[in-house]
Protein backbone atom coordinates (compact mmCIF):
# COMPACT_ATOMS: atom_id res chain seq x y z
CA UNK A 1 0.00 0.00 0.00
CA UNK A 2 1.34 3.47 -0.81
CA UNK A 3 1.29 6.09 1.90
CA UNK A 4 -1.55 8.04 0.28
CA UNK A 5 -3.60 4.84 0.05
CA UNK A 6 -2.82 4.16 3.68
CA UNK A 7 -4.03 7.62 4.67
CA UNK A 8 -7.17 7.22 2.58
CA UNK A 9 -7.91 3.83 4.09
CA UNK A 10 -7.35 5.18 7.61
CA UNK A 11 -10.05 7.80 7.08
CA UNK A 12 -12.54 5.21 5.90
CA UNK A 13 -11.61 2.91 8.76
CA UNK A 14 -12.65 5.50 11.33
CA UNK A 15 -15.80 4.40 13.13
CA UNK A 16 -18.68 6.69 13.92
CA UNK A 17 -18.50 8.26 17.37
CA UNK A 18 -21.67 7.81 19.39
CA UNK A 19 -23.86 10.79 20.27
CA UNK A 20 -22.93 10.32 23.91
CA UNK A 21 -19.21 10.33 23.13
CA UNK A 22 -19.59 13.44 20.99
CA UNK A 23 -21.54 15.21 23.72
CA UNK A 24 -18.86 14.54 26.28
CA UNK A 25 -16.06 15.54 23.91
CA UNK A 26 -17.91 18.77 23.03
CA UNK A 27 -18.18 19.60 26.73
CA UNK A 28 -14.43 19.15 27.16
CA UNK A 29 -13.77 21.43 24.19
CA UNK A 30 -15.43 24.32 26.05
CA UNK A 31 -12.90 23.99 28.88
CA UNK A 32 -9.69 24.45 26.88
CA UNK A 33 -8.30 27.27 24.76
CA UNK A 34 -7.63 24.94 21.84
CA UNK A 35 -9.69 21.92 20.82
CA UNK A 36 -6.53 19.94 20.06
CA UNK A 37 -5.93 19.92 23.82
CA UNK A 38 -8.87 17.59 24.21
CA UNK A 39 -7.17 14.64 22.48
CA UNK A 40 -6.36 12.78 25.68
CA UNK A 41 -9.76 13.56 27.20
CA UNK A 42 -11.44 12.22 24.06
CA UNK A 43 -9.37 9.04 24.21
CA UNK A 44 -10.46 8.57 27.82
CA UNK A 45 -14.09 9.24 26.97
CA UNK A 46 -14.04 6.67 24.20
CA UNK A 47 -12.27 4.20 26.44
CA UNK A 48 -14.93 4.70 29.12
CA UNK A 49 -17.64 3.74 26.63
CA UNK A 50 -15.83 1.10 24.58
CA UNK A 51 -13.50 -0.41 27.20
CA UNK A 52 -10.42 0.35 25.10
CA UNK A 53 -9.22 2.48 22.19
CA UNK A 54 -9.27 0.62 18.88
CA UNK A 55 -7.60 1.94 15.70
CA UNK A 56 -11.07 2.78 14.44
CA UNK A 57 -11.81 4.83 17.58
CA UNK A 58 -8.47 6.59 17.44
CA UNK A 59 -9.00 7.54 13.81
CA UNK A 60 -12.50 8.77 14.60
CA UNK A 61 -11.18 11.11 17.31
CA UNK A 62 -8.37 12.23 15.05
CA UNK A 63 -10.90 13.21 12.42
CA UNK A 64 -13.29 14.81 14.87
CA UNK A 65 -10.67 16.99 16.59
CA UNK A 66 -8.55 17.53 13.50
CA UNK A 67 -5.45 16.08 15.17
CA UNK A 68 -3.12 14.08 12.90
CA UNK A 69 -3.53 10.37 13.62
CA UNK A 70 0.18 10.01 14.28
CA UNK A 71 0.11 12.78 16.90
CA UNK A 72 -2.89 11.28 18.64
CA UNK A 73 -1.31 7.83 18.55
CA UNK A 74 1.78 9.43 20.11
CA UNK A 75 -0.38 10.66 22.98
CA UNK A 76 -2.37 7.42 23.28
CA UNK A 77 0.71 5.25 23.58
CA UNK A 78 2.46 7.68 25.92
CA UNK A 79 -0.03 7.42 28.76
CA UNK A 80 -0.20 4.28 30.88
CA UNK A 81 -3.96 4.37 31.34
CA UNK A 82 -4.95 4.53 27.69
CA UNK A 83 -5.49 0.97 26.53
CA UNK A 84 -4.71 0.34 22.89
CA UNK A 85 -5.61 -3.33 23.20
CA UNK A 86 -8.80 -4.89 24.58
CA UNK A 87 -8.75 -5.39 28.32
CA UNK A 88 -10.77 -7.56 30.67
CA UNK A 89 -13.92 -6.44 32.46
CA UNK A 90 -11.82 -5.48 35.49
CA UNK A 91 -8.40 -3.91 35.15
CA UNK A 92 -6.12 -4.58 38.09
CA UNK A 93 -3.46 -1.91 38.57
CA UNK A 94 -0.93 -3.38 40.96
CA UNK A 95 1.49 -0.87 42.46
CA UNK A 96 5.04 -2.14 42.15
CA UNK A 97 6.91 0.96 43.28
CA UNK A 98 9.34 1.12 46.15
CA UNK A 99 7.18 1.11 49.31
CA UNK A 100 4.92 -1.62 47.96
CA UNK A 101 8.02 -3.56 46.91
CA UNK A 102 9.41 -3.37 50.45
CA UNK A 103 6.04 -4.53 51.78
CA UNK A 104 5.87 -7.53 49.47
CA UNK A 105 4.09 -6.62 46.21
CA UNK A 106 6.15 -9.26 44.38
CA UNK A 107 4.54 -12.00 46.45
CA UNK A 108 1.11 -10.45 45.84
CA UNK A 109 1.83 -10.42 42.14
CA UNK A 110 2.94 -14.06 42.20
CA UNK A 111 -0.27 -14.98 43.97
CA UNK A 112 -2.49 -13.12 41.48
CA UNK A 113 -0.54 -14.82 38.72
CA UNK A 114 -1.19 -18.18 40.34
CA UNK A 115 -4.90 -17.50 40.88
CA UNK A 116 -5.70 -15.98 37.49
CA UNK A 117 -2.94 -17.49 35.35
CA UNK A 118 -1.97 -14.07 33.99
CA UNK A 119 1.20 -12.02 34.03
CA UNK A 120 1.54 -8.23 33.66
CA UNK A 121 -0.09 -7.15 30.40
CA UNK A 122 -2.31 -10.21 30.11
CA UNK A 123 -6.05 -10.87 30.39
CA UNK A 124 -7.53 -13.93 32.05
CA UNK A 125 -9.09 -16.53 29.74
CA UNK A 126 -12.60 -15.78 31.00
CA UNK A 127 -12.10 -12.10 30.09
CA UNK A 128 -12.72 -10.99 33.68
CA UNK A 129 -9.35 -9.54 34.67
CA UNK A 130 -6.40 -7.74 33.10
CA UNK A 131 -3.28 -7.30 35.24
CA UNK A 132 -1.09 -4.22 34.82
CA UNK A 133 1.69 -2.68 36.90
CA UNK A 134 1.19 0.93 37.98
CA UNK A 135 3.72 3.43 39.33
CA UNK A 136 3.35 4.44 42.98
CA UNK A 137 -0.34 4.76 43.85
CA UNK A 138 0.37 7.20 46.67
CA UNK A 139 -0.99 4.81 49.25
CA UNK A 140 2.38 3.88 50.72
CA UNK A 141 1.31 3.75 54.37
CA UNK A 142 -1.11 0.96 53.49
CA UNK A 143 1.14 -0.97 51.13
CA UNK A 144 0.87 -3.24 49.25
CA UNK A 145 -1.90 -1.55 47.28
CA UNK A 146 -3.72 -2.00 44.02
CA UNK A 147 -6.71 -0.64 42.16
CA UNK A 148 -9.41 -2.66 40.52
CA UNK A 149 -11.25 -0.37 38.15
CA UNK A 150 -11.76 2.84 40.13
CA UNK A 151 -11.48 1.24 43.56
CA UNK A 152 -8.44 1.15 45.79
CA UNK A 153 -7.59 -1.99 47.77
CA UNK A 154 -4.94 -1.71 50.46
CA UNK A 155 -2.89 -3.73 52.96
CA UNK A 156 -3.07 -6.64 50.54
CA UNK A 157 -2.57 -10.23 51.66
CA UNK A 158 -3.22 -13.52 49.90
CA UNK A 159 -6.56 -13.82 51.69
CA UNK A 160 -7.57 -10.34 50.60
CA UNK A 161 -6.70 -11.17 47.00
CA UNK A 162 -9.02 -14.20 47.22
CA UNK A 163 -11.82 -12.00 48.55
CA UNK A 164 -11.29 -9.31 45.92
CA UNK A 165 -11.27 -11.77 43.04
CA UNK A 166 -14.48 -13.31 44.37
CA UNK A 167 -16.09 -9.91 44.84
CA UNK A 168 -15.46 -8.76 41.27
CA UNK A 169 -16.33 -12.13 39.72
CA UNK A 170 -19.73 -11.95 41.37
CA UNK A 171 -20.53 -8.52 39.99
Amino acid sequence: MTSSELIASSTTRARKLSAEEINEIEHEITLYADKKAVGLEALKIVQKHQGWVSDESLLAISKYLDIPGSDLEGVATFFNLVFRRPVGKNVILLCNSVSCWIMGCDEIKDYIKERLAIDFGETSKDGEFTLLPVPCLGDCDRAPSMMVGENLHRNLTRDKIDEIIQQYRNR
Binding site: D34, L43, L81, C136, C140
Partner: protein, 426 residues
Protein backbone atom coordinates in the same frame (compact mmCIF):
# COMPACT_ATOMS: atom_id res chain seq x y z
CA UNK B 1 -4.62 29.18 67.85
CA UNK B 2 -4.36 27.03 64.76
CA UNK B 3 -1.22 24.89 64.84
CA UNK B 4 -2.05 22.47 62.03
CA UNK B 5 -3.42 24.62 59.21
CA UNK B 6 -3.16 21.88 56.58
CA UNK B 7 -4.90 19.04 58.39
CA UNK B 8 -7.02 20.73 61.06
CA UNK B 9 -10.24 19.76 59.26
CA UNK B 10 -9.20 16.26 58.24
CA UNK B 11 -10.93 13.26 59.74
CA UNK B 12 -10.79 10.38 57.32
CA UNK B 13 -13.38 8.40 59.28
CA UNK B 14 -15.88 11.24 58.92
CA UNK B 15 -14.92 12.25 55.40
CA UNK B 16 -14.36 15.77 54.08
CA UNK B 17 -16.36 18.76 55.33
CA UNK B 18 -18.95 20.13 52.95
CA UNK B 19 -18.87 23.84 52.25
CA UNK B 20 -21.00 24.93 55.21
CA UNK B 21 -18.98 22.78 57.59
CA UNK B 22 -15.83 24.21 56.09
CA UNK B 23 -17.06 27.80 56.34
CA UNK B 24 -17.85 27.25 60.01
CA UNK B 25 -14.14 26.71 60.75
CA UNK B 26 -12.80 29.90 59.09
CA UNK B 27 -13.22 28.37 55.62
CA UNK B 28 -13.05 30.89 52.77
CA UNK B 29 -12.25 33.70 55.25
CA UNK B 30 -9.22 34.52 53.08
CA UNK B 31 -11.58 35.40 50.24
CA UNK B 32 -13.34 37.77 52.66
CA UNK B 33 -9.93 39.33 53.37
CA UNK B 34 -9.55 39.86 49.62
CA UNK B 35 -13.10 41.24 49.37
CA UNK B 36 -12.27 43.75 52.11
CA UNK B 37 -9.57 45.23 49.93
CA UNK B 38 -6.37 43.14 49.91
CA UNK B 39 -4.81 43.83 46.51
CA UNK B 40 -3.21 41.11 44.34
CA UNK B 41 0.16 42.73 45.04
CA UNK B 42 -0.69 42.73 48.75
CA UNK B 43 -1.46 39.00 48.65
CA UNK B 44 1.80 38.34 46.84
CA UNK B 45 3.75 40.36 49.40
CA UNK B 46 2.18 38.41 52.25
CA UNK B 47 3.15 35.11 50.68
CA UNK B 48 6.65 36.40 50.01
CA UNK B 49 6.99 37.54 53.61
CA UNK B 50 5.70 34.19 54.89
CA UNK B 51 8.77 32.46 53.48
CA UNK B 52 6.64 29.63 52.06
CA UNK B 53 8.69 27.30 49.88
CA UNK B 54 7.25 24.91 47.27
CA UNK B 55 6.23 21.57 48.78
CA UNK B 56 6.33 19.60 45.54
CA UNK B 57 9.99 18.70 45.85
CA UNK B 58 12.11 21.58 44.63
CA UNK B 59 11.54 23.92 47.58
CA UNK B 60 11.51 27.12 45.53
CA UNK B 61 10.11 30.22 47.32
CA UNK B 62 6.46 30.54 46.24
CA UNK B 63 6.15 34.32 46.43
CA UNK B 64 9.29 34.77 44.38
CA UNK B 65 7.94 32.39 41.72
CA UNK B 66 4.72 34.40 41.51
CA UNK B 67 6.61 37.69 41.23
CA UNK B 68 8.04 36.61 37.85
CA UNK B 69 4.58 36.77 36.26
CA UNK B 70 4.46 39.93 34.15
CA UNK B 71 1.73 42.32 35.33
CA UNK B 72 0.35 45.61 34.10
CA UNK B 73 -1.27 46.83 30.92
CA UNK B 74 1.41 45.49 28.61
CA UNK B 75 1.28 41.94 29.99
CA UNK B 76 -0.83 39.24 28.31
CA UNK B 77 -4.43 39.50 29.48
CA UNK B 78 -4.87 35.77 29.99
CA UNK B 79 -2.83 34.18 32.75
CA UNK B 80 -3.18 30.69 34.14
CA UNK B 81 -2.83 29.13 37.56
CA UNK B 82 -2.16 25.39 37.50
CA UNK B 83 -2.27 22.95 40.39
CA UNK B 84 0.22 20.13 40.16
CA UNK B 85 -1.81 17.29 41.67
CA UNK B 86 -0.03 14.58 39.71
CA UNK B 87 1.40 12.97 42.83
CA UNK B 88 3.46 10.02 41.62
CA UNK B 89 6.85 10.32 43.29
CA UNK B 90 7.60 6.84 44.67
CA UNK B 91 6.82 6.70 48.37
CA UNK B 92 4.84 9.96 48.37
CA UNK B 93 1.28 10.00 49.68
CA UNK B 94 0.64 13.47 51.09
CA UNK B 95 -1.37 15.35 48.44
CA UNK B 96 -3.85 12.49 48.33
CA UNK B 97 -4.56 13.08 52.04
CA UNK B 98 -5.16 16.80 51.49
CA UNK B 99 -7.47 16.34 48.51
CA UNK B 100 -9.46 13.46 49.95
CA UNK B 101 -9.54 14.95 53.43
CA UNK B 102 -10.20 18.66 52.90
CA UNK B 103 -10.77 19.55 49.24
CA UNK B 104 -12.13 23.04 50.02
CA UNK B 105 -8.77 24.06 51.48
CA UNK B 106 -7.18 23.44 48.09
CA UNK B 107 -9.95 25.31 46.26
CA UNK B 108 -9.56 28.27 48.63
CA UNK B 109 -5.81 28.26 48.01
CA UNK B 110 -6.32 28.15 44.25
CA UNK B 111 -8.52 31.26 44.46
CA UNK B 112 -5.77 33.09 46.40
CA UNK B 113 -3.00 32.07 44.02
CA UNK B 114 -5.07 32.91 40.95
CA UNK B 115 -6.03 36.29 42.43
CA UNK B 116 -2.42 37.14 43.29
CA UNK B 117 -1.23 36.55 39.74
CA UNK B 118 -4.57 37.71 38.23
CA UNK B 119 -5.36 34.45 36.47
CA UNK B 120 -8.98 34.01 35.44
CA UNK B 121 -8.57 30.32 34.73
CA UNK B 122 -7.11 27.62 36.91
CA UNK B 123 -6.54 23.98 36.02
CA UNK B 124 -6.16 21.24 38.59
CA UNK B 125 -3.97 18.60 36.96
CA UNK B 126 -4.95 15.49 38.89
CA UNK B 127 -3.53 12.05 38.38
CA UNK B 128 -6.10 9.75 36.85
CA UNK B 129 -5.75 7.06 39.50
CA UNK B 130 -6.87 9.43 42.27
CA UNK B 131 -10.56 8.69 41.79
CA UNK B 132 -11.54 9.52 45.38
CA UNK B 133 -9.78 12.89 45.13
CA UNK B 134 -11.53 13.50 41.83
CA UNK B 135 -14.97 12.99 43.35
CA UNK B 136 -14.13 15.12 46.41
CA UNK B 137 -12.74 17.98 44.32
CA UNK B 138 -15.65 17.93 41.86
CA UNK B 139 -18.11 18.29 44.71
CA UNK B 140 -16.07 21.05 46.36
CA UNK B 141 -15.77 23.01 43.10
CA UNK B 142 -19.53 22.79 42.49
CA UNK B 143 -20.25 23.99 46.04
CA UNK B 144 -17.78 26.87 45.69
CA UNK B 145 -19.53 28.02 42.50
CA UNK B 146 -22.90 27.87 44.25
CA UNK B 147 -21.67 30.08 47.08
CA UNK B 148 -20.10 32.60 44.73
CA UNK B 149 -16.45 31.86 45.58
CA UNK B 150 -15.92 30.88 41.95
CA UNK B 151 -17.34 32.31 38.73
CA UNK B 152 -17.61 35.97 37.84
CA UNK B 153 -17.22 38.92 40.16
CA UNK B 154 -16.32 36.80 43.18
CA UNK B 155 -17.83 38.39 46.33
CA UNK B 156 -18.12 41.68 44.49
CA UNK B 157 -14.37 42.01 43.96
CA UNK B 158 -14.61 42.21 40.18
CA UNK B 159 -12.30 39.18 40.05
CA UNK B 160 -13.40 36.23 37.88
CA UNK B 161 -12.16 32.68 38.19
CA UNK B 162 -13.07 29.32 36.71
CA UNK B 163 -11.49 26.13 37.99
CA UNK B 164 -11.25 23.18 35.64
CA UNK B 165 -10.46 19.72 36.93
CA UNK B 166 -8.28 17.80 34.48
CA UNK B 167 -7.58 14.15 35.14
CA UNK B 168 -4.46 12.70 33.60
CA UNK B 169 -3.75 9.17 32.44
CA UNK B 170 -0.70 8.10 34.37
CA UNK B 171 2.78 9.35 33.57
CA UNK B 172 5.29 10.39 36.24
CA UNK B 173 6.90 12.95 33.95
CA UNK B 174 3.70 15.03 34.09
CA UNK B 175 4.88 16.12 37.54
CA UNK B 176 7.62 18.12 35.79
CA UNK B 177 5.91 21.46 35.32
CA UNK B 178 6.67 22.05 31.65
CA UNK B 179 5.79 18.46 30.74
CA UNK B 180 2.55 18.97 32.66
CA UNK B 181 1.77 22.02 30.52
CA UNK B 182 2.36 20.01 27.34
CA UNK B 183 0.01 17.33 28.66
CA UNK B 184 -2.65 19.97 29.41
CA UNK B 185 -2.30 21.18 25.83
CA UNK B 186 -3.02 17.63 24.67
CA UNK B 187 0.54 16.79 23.66
CA UNK B 188 2.94 14.07 24.71
CA UNK B 189 4.19 15.06 28.14
CA UNK B 190 7.80 15.84 27.31
CA UNK B 191 9.52 18.68 29.16
CA UNK B 192 10.05 22.03 27.46
CA UNK B 193 13.27 23.99 27.20
CA UNK B 194 13.71 26.61 29.93
CA UNK B 195 13.89 29.58 29.44
CA UNK B 196 11.32 30.76 28.74
CA UNK B 197 9.97 29.82 32.15
CA UNK B 198 6.24 29.10 32.48
CA UNK B 199 5.83 32.22 34.61
CA UNK B 200 6.44 34.20 31.42
CA UNK B 201 5.37 31.76 28.71
CA UNK B 202 3.52 28.68 29.90
CA UNK B 203 0.15 27.21 28.99
CA UNK B 204 -0.64 28.14 25.37
CA UNK B 205 2.22 30.63 25.61
CA UNK B 206 0.59 32.63 28.40
CA UNK B 207 2.07 33.46 31.84
CA UNK B 208 1.43 30.45 34.06
CA UNK B 209 2.15 29.47 37.63
CA UNK B 210 2.35 25.79 38.51
CA UNK B 211 2.20 25.04 42.25
CA UNK B 212 1.96 21.80 44.19
CA UNK B 213 -1.19 20.89 46.13
CA UNK B 214 0.42 21.15 49.56
CA UNK B 215 2.01 24.50 48.73
CA UNK B 216 -1.38 25.91 47.78
CA UNK B 217 -3.01 24.52 50.93
CA UNK B 218 -0.65 26.77 52.95
CA UNK B 219 -2.11 29.94 51.43
CA UNK B 220 -5.46 30.36 53.23
CA UNK B 221 -3.82 30.31 56.66
CA UNK B 222 -1.28 32.94 55.66
CA UNK B 223 -4.03 35.35 54.57
CA UNK B 224 -6.40 34.65 57.45
CA UNK B 225 -4.04 34.42 60.43
CA UNK B 226 -1.13 36.48 59.13
CA UNK B 227 2.58 36.22 58.57
CA UNK B 228 3.56 36.43 62.27
CA UNK B 229 1.31 33.47 63.05
CA UNK B 230 2.83 31.57 60.12
CA UNK B 231 6.35 32.29 61.35
CA UNK B 232 5.37 30.97 64.77
CA UNK B 233 4.55 27.51 63.42
CA UNK B 234 8.04 26.26 62.73
CA UNK B 235 10.60 24.69 65.01
CA UNK B 236 13.42 25.33 62.54
CA UNK B 237 14.73 27.83 60.03
CA UNK B 238 12.15 27.22 57.30
CA UNK B 239 8.64 28.46 57.86
CA UNK B 240 5.39 26.65 58.34
CA UNK B 241 4.28 23.11 58.89
CA UNK B 242 4.73 20.28 56.43
CA UNK B 243 3.19 16.90 55.83
CA UNK B 244 5.66 14.19 56.71
CA UNK B 245 5.08 10.57 55.87
CA UNK B 246 6.74 7.30 56.75
CA UNK B 247 6.36 4.05 54.81
CA UNK B 248 8.18 0.74 54.98
CA UNK B 249 8.48 -1.71 57.87
CA UNK B 250 7.65 0.57 60.77
CA UNK B 251 4.92 -0.12 63.32
CA UNK B 252 2.48 2.61 62.33
CA UNK B 253 3.18 3.97 58.85
CA UNK B 254 1.31 7.17 58.09
CA UNK B 255 1.32 10.86 57.25
CA UNK B 256 1.31 13.69 59.79
CA UNK B 257 1.45 17.47 59.76
CA UNK B 258 4.41 18.65 61.84
CA UNK B 259 6.35 21.89 62.19
CA UNK B 260 9.34 22.14 59.90
CA UNK B 261 12.42 21.54 61.98
CA UNK B 262 10.98 18.53 63.81
CA UNK B 263 13.77 16.00 64.52
CA UNK B 264 13.72 12.99 62.19
CA UNK B 265 13.94 10.69 65.22
CA UNK B 266 10.71 12.12 66.60
CA UNK B 267 8.90 11.43 63.32
CA UNK B 268 10.21 7.91 63.10
CA UNK B 269 9.83 6.89 66.74
CA UNK B 270 6.90 8.90 68.13
CA UNK B 271 4.70 9.04 65.05
CA UNK B 272 5.67 6.01 62.95
CA UNK B 273 6.06 3.91 66.10
CA UNK B 274 9.65 2.86 65.40
CA UNK B 275 10.86 -0.19 63.51
CA UNK B 276 8.84 -3.38 63.57
CA UNK B 277 9.96 -5.97 66.09
CA UNK B 278 13.27 -7.58 65.28
CA UNK B 279 14.13 -5.12 62.54
CA UNK B 280 16.75 -2.40 62.51
CA UNK B 281 16.91 0.80 60.51
CA UNK B 282 19.50 0.48 57.78
CA UNK B 283 18.82 3.69 55.86
CA UNK B 284 16.06 5.87 54.50
CA UNK B 285 15.10 8.13 51.64
CA UNK B 286 13.93 11.35 53.32
CA UNK B 287 11.59 12.72 50.64
CA UNK B 288 10.52 10.22 48.02
CA UNK B 289 12.33 8.17 45.39
CA UNK B 290 14.43 11.01 43.97
CA UNK B 291 16.34 11.75 47.15
CA UNK B 292 19.68 10.48 48.43
CA UNK B 293 19.80 7.82 51.12
CA UNK B 294 20.42 8.89 54.67
CA UNK B 295 21.66 6.68 57.51
CA UNK B 296 20.73 5.97 61.15
CA UNK B 297 23.50 8.39 62.18
CA UNK B 298 21.42 11.20 60.61
CA UNK B 299 18.36 10.62 62.81
CA UNK B 300 19.10 13.57 65.06
CA UNK B 301 18.99 16.04 62.19
CA UNK B 302 15.89 18.15 61.82
CA UNK B 303 13.38 18.02 59.00
CA UNK B 304 14.47 21.29 57.45
CA UNK B 305 15.45 22.04 53.85
CA UNK B 306 18.98 23.23 54.60
CA UNK B 307 19.77 20.70 57.29
CA UNK B 308 18.92 17.72 55.07
CA UNK B 309 20.85 19.32 52.19
CA UNK B 310 23.95 19.50 54.40
CA UNK B 311 24.26 15.70 54.38
CA UNK B 312 23.80 15.55 50.62
CA UNK B 313 20.13 14.72 50.41
CA UNK B 314 16.90 16.70 50.01
CA UNK B 315 13.79 17.15 52.11
CA UNK B 316 11.81 17.12 48.81
CA UNK B 317 8.30 15.73 49.39
CA UNK B 318 8.96 14.96 53.07
CA UNK B 319 7.68 11.42 52.73
CA UNK B 320 10.24 9.02 54.03
CA UNK B 321 10.85 5.48 52.78
CA UNK B 322 12.42 3.19 55.35
CA UNK B 323 14.99 0.54 54.50
CA UNK B 324 15.26 -2.14 57.18
CA UNK B 325 18.13 -4.56 57.70
CA UNK B 326 16.28 -7.52 56.17
CA UNK B 327 15.35 -5.76 52.94
CA UNK B 328 17.97 -5.83 50.21
CA UNK B 329 19.32 -2.33 49.48
CA UNK B 330 20.41 -3.44 46.00
CA UNK B 331 16.88 -4.68 45.32
CA UNK B 332 15.43 -1.44 46.64
CA UNK B 333 17.60 0.74 44.42
CA UNK B 334 16.91 -1.66 41.54
CA UNK B 335 13.17 -1.21 42.06
CA UNK B 336 13.59 2.56 41.86
CA UNK B 337 15.70 2.27 38.71
CA UNK B 338 12.99 0.16 37.07
CA UNK B 339 10.49 2.88 37.92
CA UNK B 340 12.61 5.71 36.53
CA UNK B 341 13.50 3.71 33.45
CA UNK B 342 9.83 2.98 32.75
CA UNK B 343 8.78 6.57 33.38
CA UNK B 344 11.48 8.25 31.27
CA UNK B 345 9.62 10.22 28.61
CA UNK B 346 12.17 9.10 26.02
CA UNK B 347 12.93 12.58 24.77
CA UNK B 348 16.60 13.00 25.68
CA UNK B 349 19.20 10.35 25.05
CA UNK B 350 21.03 9.95 28.37
CA UNK B 351 17.79 9.28 30.21
CA UNK B 352 16.10 7.19 27.51
CA UNK B 353 19.11 4.94 26.93
CA UNK B 354 20.95 5.22 30.24
CA UNK B 355 18.17 4.28 32.63
CA UNK B 356 17.19 1.01 30.89
CA UNK B 357 20.86 0.05 30.92
CA UNK B 358 21.07 0.74 34.63
CA UNK B 359 17.84 -1.22 35.15
CA UNK B 360 19.25 -4.16 33.19
CA UNK B 361 22.39 -4.20 35.33
CA UNK B 362 20.26 -4.36 38.47
CA UNK B 363 18.44 -7.34 36.98
CA UNK B 364 21.84 -9.00 36.61
CA UNK B 365 22.68 -8.34 40.25
CA UNK B 366 19.31 -9.77 41.23
CA UNK B 367 20.01 -12.90 39.15
CA UNK B 368 23.47 -13.38 40.56
CA UNK B 369 25.28 -12.34 37.38
CA UNK B 370 26.52 -8.92 38.53
CA UNK B 371 30.21 -8.19 38.04
CA UNK B 372 32.80 -5.61 39.10
CA UNK B 373 32.57 -4.19 35.59
CA UNK B 374 28.81 -3.70 36.06
CA UNK B 375 29.49 -1.84 39.25
CA UNK B 376 31.87 0.44 37.39
CA UNK B 377 29.20 1.13 34.75
CA UNK B 378 26.70 2.00 37.47
CA UNK B 379 29.15 4.46 38.99
CA UNK B 380 29.68 6.04 35.57
CA UNK B 381 25.94 6.49 35.14
CA UNK B 382 25.68 8.48 38.34
CA UNK B 383 27.75 11.02 36.45
CA UNK B 384 26.30 10.54 32.93
CA UNK B 385 22.72 10.94 34.15
CA UNK B 386 23.45 13.58 36.77
CA UNK B 387 22.41 17.23 37.05
CA UNK B 388 23.22 19.23 33.93
CA UNK B 389 23.52 16.18 31.67
CA UNK B 390 19.87 15.75 30.83
CA UNK B 391 16.93 17.82 29.68
CA UNK B 392 14.97 17.68 32.93
CA UNK B 393 15.31 16.50 36.52
CA UNK B 394 14.01 12.93 36.07
CA UNK B 395 17.32 11.17 35.46
CA UNK B 396 19.25 13.33 37.96
CA UNK B 397 16.53 12.33 40.44
CA UNK B 398 17.26 8.69 39.70
CA UNK B 399 20.96 9.21 40.37
CA UNK B 400 20.20 10.36 43.93
CA UNK B 401 19.30 6.91 45.34
CA UNK B 402 21.69 5.28 42.86
CA UNK B 403 24.79 7.26 43.80
CA UNK B 404 24.10 7.29 47.52
CA UNK B 405 23.09 3.61 47.45
CA UNK B 406 26.37 2.66 45.76
CA UNK B 407 28.26 4.68 48.38
CA UNK B 408 26.47 3.57 51.55
CA UNK B 409 25.71 -0.03 50.62
CA UNK B 410 28.88 -0.89 48.70
CA UNK B 411 29.34 -4.00 50.83
CA UNK B 412 25.92 -5.29 49.76
CA UNK B 413 26.72 -4.80 46.08
CA UNK B 414 30.00 -6.69 46.54
CA UNK B 415 28.28 -9.55 48.32
CA UNK B 416 25.89 -9.95 45.34
CA UNK B 417 28.92 -10.28 43.07
CA UNK B 418 30.90 -12.60 45.34
CA UNK B 419 28.05 -14.89 46.35
CA UNK B 420 26.47 -14.81 42.87
CA UNK B 421 23.05 -14.35 44.44
CA UNK B 422 21.05 -11.92 46.51
CA UNK B 423 22.25 -12.55 50.07
CA UNK B 424 18.92 -11.32 51.45
CA UNK B 425 17.00 -14.19 49.88
CA UNK B 426 16.69 -17.26 52.03
Amino acid sequence: MVTKPLTKNIDMERGPLDISGYQAVDGYQSIQVIAKGLSPQGALELVKASGLKGRGGAGFPTGLKWSFVPQGDNSPGQKYFVVNADEMEPGTFKDRLLMEGDPHLLIEGVIIGSYAIQASKAYIFLRGEYTVSERALKKAIDEAYEKGYLGSNILGTGFNLDIILHTSAGRYICGEETALLNALEGKRAIPRAKPPFPQVSGLWGKPTIVNNVETICNLPGILIYGVDWYHGLTKGKDHGTKLFGVSGKVNTPGCWELPLGTPIRELLENYAGGMRDGLELKGFLPGGGSTDFMLPEHLDLNLDYDEIARVGSRLATGTMIILDNETCPVGMVGNLMKFFSHESCGFCTPCRDGLPWVDEIFNEFENGCGSEKDLEILHEHVDYLGPGRTFCALAPGATAPLGSGLKYFAEDFHRHIKEKRCPYKH
